[in-house]
């Protein structure tokens, strides 16, 4: 190992040169460690920045766009909604419980640092198949970890998703989204410029040797054989401290004690101090001897880059200091003044044991990383995959059997096993929890509620990253619209392989293009997000996975629409079905292939469908709505039947082969039910909005009858659907006890 230090820290020779020319000398090892952390892919977005610029980020409701700890939108009544999604895949791959738990803690602190109280969590997850022991261990541990943290801090986990695909075996994809609310005039943002002389106050947990180099080692490299070396960078979460941190921070913000607030995440104190100074347009001095330590023998670089959890950095004018200490003491949290903002020079000046250990321009750490336009190329196997379209195979399995097989496929099967491990009702605002199309969380003191859904389309993304990402936006918006809410804005987490490979970079750029087009059409700006690269081992990367977190608004939650069938209604399919089985759940779980062309997406049609859903909810016109997603029309019908313990009888119009008509995943469709007396009103509205529709049957009885095609009892379907994942996870064949 006689590689030079900068390379061992993950910096290139060119990057070293750029640092030297910025500071006018060679950086010392401490400074090098600071730059390595801040210029890591995870913190600097150096490979993704050029593409992220193409996302639409403006809109009348946007209060805070990308670049802050979290984005924010205005939902009226003086309420700001703050939300953001992040990945914690790398730590979760080696220690699923703590990796996932600290992921929750981290995203929650992003929301707090905006001055908002966290009110909801969602957890989009991807694993390899559950037939594999290690995948079960990961799945079990990750879900327990998310619950372990979220349940303990009293923020309800109201939704999320779980999908399984072989490419996620070595590298599970663990994303967590958090949403909070704040009075719009009390957001803590860059708009507020703290004066020079303000104190930097570190409060919360003490700093230890855990998570050193987390961002540069774990999150910015692939998990190869050197995993053992990167292991100590996993951190242990302390949700109890996390809860106290929420309460103390909220109290300080509400009492107006703070000039600024920043969480300590990737790159720890280095990141918090340099960003705070940069935002203020000032310099800062930090005295490491004042940082409360868990072990007293920490090196300066360790104190500066430790990613110990449950810490926040507040900017406080000296006159407020006593109040801040009082709040921290009451909540049992340590607090220490570790430095101050300085007028001159814009440098970050770090001292340790009386000596200066680092002196660098704060802005060069926070914003100075190089921006790369990495080479891109279309993957070679792409044409073969698209050509091998399963839409045109002939079907031998009876449709009823295929339906049951799909209901038990882990991607489709009930995720109750997951979400029953989450407290989804704490805080008393959950109007709709997990299990439906989108969650609804009300805004206390109003009749408004926020609709939340996450979606990512792994198979589609693998076949066509542009379409995959655009579909994810469309589906998340559709899920929100199904409840009657208007989609407003998104956050996202972009999970990809190694950006230094041209195929991965191409997938990334295509995904951004897909998100941008869809978000423009649906008028849902992007307020923030997160990029997670290096999700690969050897040369096998995860499916390009753009996960979208959609936020919508309904003005009166009493009018919210659920997806469960009731008795005696008419069943409509809104939207049109095409022969589109490429990349479908049917192709994977019944035919065993992931190939073909994903369904087309007409964003105008998509918007019309949303208008129809939102309008009919506002008029209290429909009894249920459920989007057609994985598994198509048949699965949508079955899910609504199972949710309402009510069967149906339908006959499928058109001349598509029955399996195509039932399982095609054509976009922009929803199953809607209506009281017979109001059917014509619904048809008129659909005609007005130019949404194609078909009345296909009615609800009632204990059976799900597809005329001449299949006939399954709701009970049998429910048993199949509900038992699938518990059965795979049973026998208690779980490695290593979590928690």
């Amino acid at each position: 190992m006689n590689e030079p230090l900068h390379r061992r820290l993950g910096l290139t020779d060119d990057e070293l040169e750029s640092i030297s020319s910025t500071i006018g000398r060679d950086p010392n090892p401490t400074e090098l460690a600071m730059y390595a952390a801040m210029w890591s892919e995870h913190c600097s977005y150096k490979s993704s920045k050029v593409h992220l610029r193409n996302l639409p980020t403006d809109g009348p409701r946007v209060l805070v766009g990308p670049g802050q700890d979290a984005g924010a939108i205005d939902v009226g009544d003086g309420v700001a909604v703050v939300f953001k999604m992040e990945s914690h895949s790398h730590p979760s791959a080696v220690e699923p419980y703590q990796g996932a738990a600290t992921g929750v803690g981290g995203i929650v602190r992003d929301i707090i640092s905006m001055g908002a109280r966290p009110i909801a969590l969602l957890d989009p997850l991807r694993f390899g198949p559950l037939t594999d022991e290690r995948n079960r261990w990961l799945f079990d541990g990750v879900v327990a970890g998310i619950g372990g943290y979220g349940n303990c801090i009293g923020v309800p986990t109201v939704g999320g998703e779980v999908h399984f695909g072989a490419p996620h075996s070595a590298n599970p994809t663990i994303n967590v989204m958090c949403l909070g609310i704040a009075p719009a005039d009390r957001l803590v943002t860059a708009a507020k410029a703290p004066p020079a002389g303000s104190l930097l106050v570190l409060f919360g947990a003490s700093t230890g040797r855990d998570g050193i180099g987390g961002v540069s080692v774990l999150a910015s490299r692939t998990l190869e054989d050197d995993a053992a070396e990167s292991r100590p960078s996993v951190q242990i979460g302390d949700p109890f401290a996390g809860k106290l941190l929420i309460e103390a921070s909220m109290e300080m913000v509400e009492r107006g004690l703070l000039e600024g607030l920043q969480d300590l995440g990737g790159a720890g104190l280095t990141c918090a101090a340099s960003e705070t100074a940069t935002r203020a347009g000032l310099g800062a001095e930090v005295d490491l001897d004042t940082v409360p330590l868990r072990q007293d023998d920490l090196e300066p670089f360790e104190i500066l880059t430790s990613e110990s959890q449950e810490r926040m950095l507040a900017v406080v004018v000296p006159e407020r200091m006593d109040d801040v200490i009082e709040v921290c003491t009451r909540w049992g949290l340590g607090a220490a003044v570790i430095g101050r903002l300085l007028d001159e020079g814009g440098t970050l000046d770090v001292r340790h044991r009386g000596a200066e250990v680092a002196r660098v321009p704060a802005r060069s750490l926070a914003d100075g990383a190089p921006v790369y336009s990495r080479p891109m190329s279309v993957p070679l196997e792409r044409d073969d995959l698209l050509a091998d379209d399963p839409t045109f195979t002939t079907m031998t399995t009876p449709v009823g059997d295929a339906l049951l097989r799909m209901l038990s496929a882990p991607n489709v099967a009930s995720k109750r096993w997951v979400w029953e491990q989450y407290d989804s009702i704490v805080q008393g605002g959950t109007v709709l929890g997990p299990g439906g199309d989108a969650a609804l969380v009300r805004i206390e003191g109003t009749l408004k509620a926020l609709a939340l859904a996450t979606d990512g389309k792994g198979r589609y993304g693998a076949l066509d990253p542009y379409l995959g990402a655009a579909h994810a936006v469309a589906e998340s918006a559709r899920n929100v619209a199904c409840t009657g809410a208007t989609p407003l804005a998104i956050t996202n987490c972009l999970n990809f392989g190694n950006p230094e490979r041209p195929e991965v970079m191409w997938q990334f750029a295509e995904s951004i293009r897909g998100i941008a087009d869809a978000c423009r059409a649906i008028e849902t700006p992007v307020t923030g997000g997160n990029v997670s690269f290096y999700n690969e081992s050897g040369d096998s990367a995860i499916w390009p996975t753009a996960v979208i977190g959609m936020v919508g608004l309904i003005h009166d939650y009493r009018l919210a629409v659920r997806h469960a069938f009731g008795d005696g209604t008419l069943v409509y399919v809104m939207g049109e079905t095409f022969p589109e089985l490429g990349g479908s759940e049917f192709a994977e779980s019944v035919l065993g292939v992931v190939a073909g062309r994903p369904p087309a997406l007409d964003l105008e049609r998509e918007r019309s469908l949303h208008s129809l859903l939102v309008d009919s909810a506002r008029r209290d016109l429909i009894r249920s709505a459920h989007d057609c997603g994985d598994g198509g029309l048949a699965i949508a019908l079955a899910e609504s039947a199972m949710a309402g313990s009510t069967g149906f009888a339908v006959s499928i119009p058109g001349d598509l082969p029955s399996h195509v008509a039932l399982f095609a995943e054509s976009a922009s469709r929803a199953v809607v039910t209506v009281d017979p007396a109001r059917a014509s009103e619904l048809e008129d509205l659909a005609a007005d909005l130019r949404v194609p529709f078909a009345r296909i049957g009615e609800t009632g009885g204990p059976r799900m009858v597809f005329d001449q095609i299949a006939d399954v009892t709701v009970d049998e379907a429910t048993a199949t659907y509900e038992d699938a994942i518990p059965k795979l996870m049973s026998g208690e064949r779980v490695l290593r006890e979590a928690g």
Partner: protein, 241 residues
Amino acid sequence: MTARAPRVGVVTFPGSLDDRDAVRAVRAMGGEAVPLWHGERDLGGADAVILPGGFSYGDYLRTGAIARFAPVMEELRAFADAGRPVVGICNGFQILCEASLLPGALIRNAGRRFVCRWVDVRVETSLSPLTAGLVAGEVLRVPVKHGEGQFVARGDELDRMEGDGLVVFRYCDPDGALGAEHNPNGSAAAIAGVRNEAGNVVGLMPHPEHAIDPDLGPTGGQPMFAALLQSALEPVASGIR
């Protein structure tokens, strides 16, 4: 009889989570909620006290183990000894057991995992602050959410509890029938809630405070809170003994 709204104290420990929900429930049902702080030896003139759900002190050592030593608990013990109504919900139940104000203990769910779901509970006795005025056999729908809600007690202790009618709620089906599939955590004898000998202290794992608002779901918590507000204004429990 009286025009005064009953004052119900709700204690916040570090790590309490459902304290705000309990306060909201008290208010929604017409009571006056009095927020109380773990570090104070003062019950704020409350007529009844709720120890709410959550993870006091992270529940790190054992659920409720550290919270029971909080200063407010000394006051609470005296309050309970005086026959005033005390209700422990979830973590509050665990704290009351740790403090020996209620019999038994709560350990990890038999299924090992945290469970959040709606359950039905059957009222077993009307002799408790949460069931006064209710009829034994009545079934109420309320949610549970806990990782350590399996009620256990020594065999002879269980017999005594059954004999003395200390079981207040049992997990059941919507018709009141018992069965392992309705018991979310493997509790002994399907026990969801218990009371003390005097009948003024009651603890339960389900969350009645989350079953008040019809816009959010079933309302099995309403009769329980109505009973509590009623009991709060009644003279010191003595006849129950």
